[in-house]
């Protein structure tokens, strides 16, 4: 059993209006960052999970996302595990 640091990025699903992301994209455009095509703002969650492998830690985090951490109607998530320092 090792401890893994699991990073979870949760973002509003593409195609759904993200007013916060839109406001930031508009502000970036106003600052002449015209190369910004889209901005979406979500949450970043860091969990320390005890598991036998990184894959197991990610599997556990996926179950947490499906049950609580992300809303399946409005959000997508990305999970990455690494051995905790």
């Amino acid at each position: 059993m090792s401890r893994f640091r699991v990073s979870i990025q949760i973002v509003p699903r593409k195609g759904l209006l993200d007013p916060q992301g839109k406001a930031v994209a508009d502000a970036l455009h106003a600052l002449s960052f015209s190369d910004v095509a889209d901005a979406r703002i979500g949450r970043y969650i860091v969990l320390d999970i005890d598991a036998t492998s990184a894959a197991d830690a990610e599997k556990s985090a996926r179950a947490m996302c499906d049950k609580l951490l992300a809303n399946p109607v409005t959000e997508d998530y990305l999970i990455a595990a690494a051995v905790a320092a």
Partner: protein, 230 residues
Amino acid sequence: MKFGIVTFPGSNCDVDALHAVTDALGQTAVSLWHREHDTQGCDVLILPGGFSYGDALRAGAIARFSPIMQEVIAHAERGAPVIGICNGFQILCESHLLPGALMRNAGMKFICDWVHLRVEGAAPRYLNNYQPGQVLRIPIAHGEGRYVADDATLDALDQSGHVLFRYCDTDGAVTDAANPNGALRNIAGITNASGNVLGMMPHPERAVESLLGSTDGLALFESLLARVNA
């Protein structure tokens, strides 16, 4: 008829709901703390407005797993009435008792204002004492009230008459200008497929006495009574 009003940490419309069903409607009601496991024989359960658990993670996401919610879900699955108002609507969506989700208002701002709603749909349990197409004046107070769902879900809601209230102008026209939060298809309130679970962002419990500025919310609660007394 006995009402149960759930109080979560952060609920702030529970006393308003209690007042509406006892003083304005003349029924009995009990307050149910979120840690309780017993709905005390209540006929109707109300999830009130507020900011349960500080809206941590997402509005309603944590409340869904509180002890009392397991009883609320069982109550709903028995076909008994459950009403979620504002944060209560958010909790019902998070609990999957209603389809869709409530997202941040399109204009980013928290809105506390009066809106007009058009009554439609097929839900005699809640609409019995309204006329189809009737325009109601009811207040809203929310930052995350933009109803969203995928097109298939929206079509199913429309076709089955499970959209009960839409934001409209004073004449009952459903327009973008009358939509305060960017809700898809101007949806302000819906029921589940069996018609016993109602979720709505506007606050009918704040529109039950002329002193409050409107009595248009009272008929929603009276509809429940009419059905039982019929």
